[in-house]
Symmetry: C2
Subunit: 206 residues, 2 copies
């Protein structure tokens, strides 16, 4: 059964941020720099295109990192992904478990302490909590802050990844708050050198 | 293996059209009036809410009509639906078949003759073709017309349902053009009496 490595740096995809580089290539570079999991999240694409692009990303990163699909359990199943990242309003953990089997890694995105506790109880393998800091990816979402992250990490026994505005400077803070690592989008993909950006994050993580 | 009845009247859901009645209740009334399949299509809802509402609709119609889920093979699997309706840009038919098994009814929505031929070749059990007429549901889409419907129905051997602006007055026309029936949204849900509206459509169909 795949387990989230600790500490974990997860790259969450957004192909629209890539600068003069394809998403599969950017993901490959990030993995070469030490990213341990790639979460494919291209929710504006229809399912057929998601499947196609996700297959390319999966092939590109090979077995060097975990490959997780956001929201679509069917796409995860079709690709034989390592797991699925369920949005807070996504399918219940129990349904995803039933469909994907006991060996799949099932993460739940949560935005509150209650949500985190409920997700652990429902059988999630890990959580992504945020936004911890202000983030360009979700400009309307008020940051939850480090204290909220600390409370979540203390309340559950499964790993919690911090998301939302986490750049290299914030990595130590989120680890100190009890996070098992971070999930980032623009801190890697929004740069002109995804490999160097990923390496800088990894260096702070370990 | 569930087969699409011939002729077939399929209700495609849009909860936002329901007048003072819940979607599960409207679907139940339509099925009582003779609708033979209900396709759950509430694409703006997150997957968790889709699953919940779709479960209510499925329970409400019981075994009196086929229950089909639009796009999300995972939701169809979770509910044990009779099948899935794949949008033209949705998952490939072969993937849906692999995930749902040989007994599932797999429909593909198509908008051209080439799309129809490709979908039959890919293993779809039936097609929905349209919009045949101008429709409020997709106001930007130019109607394909009866002649295009006729060409599609002649080119494939699987059943073709006409969609798009089909009201009771158009049912005979689409059957004469070779359609196996019709898929409707507002002609049932956009009325104040879904049962009477469905009955009027069924009467024209048989």
């Amino acid at each position: 059964m795949p387990r989230l490595p600790r500490p974990c740096l997860m790259l969450v995809t957004d192909r629209r941020l890539c600068h003069g580089i394809s998403l599969p290539e950017a993901a490959r570079l990030a993995v070469e720099a030490g990213v341990s999991a790639v979460q494919f999240r291209e929710r504006d694409l229809p399912a057929g295109e998601q499947l196609e692009l996700a297959a390319q990303v999966k092939r590109s990163i090979g077995s060097r990192a975990l490959f997780i699909v956001n929201d679509r359990v069917d796409v995860a199943l079709a690709l034989g992904a390592d797991g699925v990242q369920l949005p807070e309003s996504g399918l219940p953990v129990a349904e995803a478990r039933r469909l994907l089997g006991p060996d799949a890694l099932i993460g739940r995105s949560v935005h509150s302490l209650q949500g985190a506790i409920a997700a652990e109880r429902a059988g999630a393998d890990y959580l992504i909590f945020g936004p911890v800091y202000a983030t360009r990816t979700h400009p309307g979402a008020p940051p939850a802050g480090r204290q909220a992250l600390r409370e979540v990490a203390q309340a559950v026994s499964i790993p919690v990844l911090a998301i939302g505005g986490v750049a290299a400077e914030q990595v130590r803070e989120v680890l100190q708050a009890g996070a098992a690592g971070a999930a980032v989008v623009s801190a890697i993909l929004g740069t002109f050198d995804p490999k160097a950006a990923a390496a800088a994050l990894v260096a702070k993580l370990t």
